[in-house]
């Protein structure tokens, strides 16, 4: 399944990223993500290998992943679930994407009086610690806080070129 246009727009709107996994022994793990991008029906997520080492370990075990994106201005929150996540590609190649997402997120938080230096602490990973995870979203959930958080929302079928 693929992301809707609305979901793709959300990726660059200044969202926060939370990335979750679960080890084969049933240990749930979570870390802050740094960026997300749509790639032909798949989702690319960048995290720090230093702060996200547990999440990387869980994903390497079973490929299960949940990526939560939340827009601070209204707490609109969407999760994407996958079971085929792979960890592949790291380094400075992701810096420009991370900086772009960081700038949009910091701009969101400035309106709440949170200065850019503060979000800088969350985005302070070195280039060599940036690492990419790719997966196909098999489900999406509305995670906006409140009743029904976690309920499924529809993705659209992937359109193959003819």
């Amino acid at each position: 399944m693929a992301l809707t246009d609305d979901m793709i727009q959300l990726l660059s709107a200044g969202v926060s990223h939370q990335v979750g996994g679960c080890t084969n022994s049933g240990r749930p793990v979570v870390c802050r993500g740094l960026a997300a991008q749509h790639e032909a029906g798949r989702l690319l997520v960048i995290i720090s290998s230093e702060s996200g080492f547990e999440v990387l370990d869980a994903i390497r075990q079973n490929g299960h992943i949940a990526v939560n994106l939340t827009l601070p201005e209204n707490y609109r929150s969407v999760s994407f679930i996958g079971t085929d996540a792979v960890v592949r590609g790291s380094g400075a190649a992701w810096r420009s994407l991370v900086d772009e997402r960081h700038a949009a997120f910091a701009q969101q938080l400035v309106r709440f009086g949170i200065p850019p230096e503060f979000t800088g602490a969350w985005y302070s990973a070195d280039d060599e610690d940036l690492i990419a995870i790719r997966f196909t979203p098999m489900a999406a959930r509305n995670q906006t806080p409140g009743p029904g958080a976690g309920d499924a929302i529809e993705l659209k079928p992937i359109e193959f070129e003819k």
Partner: protein
Amino acid sequence: MSAVFDDGLSLFGVRRMMEGVIPPVLCTASVDRIPNVSYLSLCEYVDPLHIALSYQFFNRSRENVLATRRASLTLDDPYTGGGVVMQLEYQRTDTEGPVFERLRAKLMGVASHVGMDKVFHLRGADIYQVLEMRRVPGRKELPAAQPRVDLPTNSRLLSERMAHCEDMADLLDTLLSGLSDLLRISHAMLWLFDSSQKVLTLLASRGYEVDGAGAEISLGDGIVGTAVREGVPIRVGHMMNMATYMRAVRSRADESGLTPVLQNEIPLPGLKEPRSQLAVPLRARGRVLGALLVESQHDQYFGYDDEDALTMLGGQLAVAMSLMQPPEQEPPAPAPVKASAQLEGGPALRLKRFARDNSVFIDDVYLIRGVAGAILWKLVSEFLRSGRREFTNRELRLAPELRLPDVQDNLEVRLLLLQRRLAEQPAPLRLEKAGRGRMRLIVERAVVLEHDD
């Protein structure tokens, strides 16, 4: 199972991360290990090994936790940008008791800002044992903010100043000026609770364009009304963020058809756009007599230490309000005065009372109601009947027509409120002290009484 914490970390030490400035993130997983990540409203310290998380709605996170009993939680430091990540094991859900009550009060306090307090009820406090806690590695943290004052020392100085006060007006002024001078709290209000009317009346304030004495809110309104109703302090460190979060929940509740009766949003009293608020109940002899509300235009201005300090000072004020009764005196004999009809200075003043709530209007302009309204009505009635201008607290306390059980606790405070309300009015009617335990009614124009009973 013993807990594994990073060196130097304790749950008590990370309490500030539980204030909701940045909502906690909870990760759970289904039995087939599909993760679910969501935000939470509140997290509360329970003891060195346990925390409580708010349970408001049955959703996927809860379904997972009940199935697996495991969760991971991240908390962010609202001052430094640092954070911790925990491994949790679900223990039980409390639906009563002190932890549940604390969580419920905090939830109600912040939810009332967006008219959500009727919908946003707490179903339970989920108690978790913390199995592991470690710092989130790799963050370049900001230096921790320096305390704005030496809170313990300056609170003690203020407490000593208050202990020297001999009457209620002096006590209130000393507290409010001391908050500003010693604790750098520039915006404060003292609210008085009238248990018979279920309303809070503004007794005194500092740092606002309008004094507002006599203004009222209902029990349960805003964080001050909720602090009084629940009898616990309520602190909101980042009001814009919390209000946005609550509005998101409200929006989801609307979509789910869970909001048949919603209140309008309640305008915040005092500062137009406060960034931080702390409401502390004034408690004495097991009862809540009112609340102290402090505000700031800065985010995260009040911490746990402020809550502790103001709770102590508020307790001292409440005890003084209960005990600060001047010596009892016999009523004075009527003094010869000019009859009311013969008073000069223009047309007669119309004083009207509505018996339902003892509200009093002067020339159709609302003045005051409740205990203070009943007292004013009695004083003016007695003046018109006998010509007497001086009264004692004792006779008010014994007056059967007041029939107000709460009056014994803080008559002095009610009189002070009435005195201040009258002083704010252009009407030629005032109340002033006439020695300890005595007051004098000043009437400079003829008065006509009207009532609806």
